[in-house]
Symmetry: C2
Subunit: 243 residues, 2 copies
């Protein structure tokens, strides 16, 4: 299988079958990746569309040859809610979540998570998502929302969607069992992971009150970063019954 370089392009830059490259993209393709005239690459608009593209002779623009299919996207819309973690751990969560096919990520402010980060952090997370989408050959770049309170995020989403909150406790049902027993009722599945110090009882009660289901990921204590990757991996690999 030929592996082409991938480039995310804002939709506004395409006109018909032509794609005009910015000076930065021109430099990147020609001087960093060393693509020559008529070289092929993959142009993605980050909104679910991608094309096999061919550089022009002067490498300043490209022709879109044909659209690519959605084979690398999940059949569901997977949404991750995750508390803001110490030591920039969200950088890795966002990279891995993108590899695993998420569509949207909500960084959460919770009682026991870090305070609101600087706006630069959101820009950094969006850049990580874009790079990860290119590396993992996705057509969508996941949207990273601005950090907001868990109580606000609880108001969002399709009321019919399945929503799982990772919780600790011996009575909590495993996520795999919940996935096996349930028919999907909407295209959306949400997963929420709390901070290292855990959710408060109130945060979990508020979620249960709006139909979030507590789930466990096994009998060992996982760090938040591991819980996010494993939880998303279980959902992404579970055969989904379409609504």
């Amino acid at each position: 299988m030929t592996r082409y370089f991938r480039l995310t392009i804002p939709q506004a830059r395409t006109e018909g079958d032509y794609l005009t490259l910015t000076p930065e993209q021109h430099h990147y393709l020609g001087h960093v990746l060393r693509l020559g005239p008529r070289a092929n690459f993959i142009a993605m608009n980050g909104q679910g569309q991608a094309w096999l593209a061919e550089l022009s002779l002067d490498t300043s623009q490209a022709t879109l040859i044909h659209p690519l299919d959605h084979a690398h996207e999940l059949p569901i819309d997977l949404v991750l809610c995750i508390a803001i973690l110490r030591n920039n751990a969200l950088d890795q969560v966002i990279h891995q979540a993108t590899e695993l096919g998420v569509q949207q990520i909500y960084p959460l402010l919770t009682s026991r998570s870090l305070p609101e980060p600087s706006p630069q952090k959101l820009t950094r997370w969006q850049r990580i998502a874009q790079e990860a989408a290119e590396q993992s050959e996705r057509l969508y770049v996941p949207k990273i929302a601005a950090p907001q309170a868990w109580t606000e995020v609880l108001k969002l989403g399709d009321p019919l969607s399945r929503k799982y909150i990772c919780s600790l406790g011996e009575q909590i049902r495993p996520l795999v069992n919940q996935l096996a027993d349930q028919q999907a009722t909407s295209r959306e599945i949400w997963l929420a992971v709390g901070p290292e110090a855990g959710w408060t009882e109130t945060e979990q009660e508020l979620a249960r009150a709006v139909n979030w289901e507590p789930v466990s990921l096994g009998s060992r204590t996982l760090r938040a970063i591991t819980a996010a990757t494993v939880g998303l991996g279980l959902i992404a690999n579970h055969p989904i019954k379409q609504p």
Copy 2:
């Protein structure tokens, strides 16, 4: 639930119900964790046994009060084989694999992986596994083997055990389907993850020749670090049919 501090102690240091602390352990419990006389903590021998322990009045030794159970261990022996990755990525793989319940990790030398690391690296990996086992309340500290060639590792293990090699390609069956269809034939399950640049065709053929089954983790391209965590998470969360 009360959370106790955990300490890994070499088996040789216990004598009957008494545990003699090394000067380092004494310093750690008394001065770093600030445990006082008669404080409780959990003593693990790293071989699958753990006890609730109580510090003596002078905090130089401890009494083992009662053994703890195996609730945090998997009912199977999970073995991870993983190529040595760039940027110290194995540090994180070993931490997450320990959280997920592995018993043994084989760092692999493959055609496309990094060359053999320094011996200090193995010591570092073993320390990470020990810390992760304490944090995730495990009774076992996974054994980390010295790095060795994939062809040597292919000779190891129970011949009846299930062995899965993560592979790319549209014809490869998903790991979840393999897990669902198969009866366990031994207590062991092995998972192998190649380097970022992939296995060679020969490495995969040699594995298939000794009953390693190629498996996929979905239609997206995962980094090795993500593949290891997701693959182990799928096995650890799969309801295992005991042989």
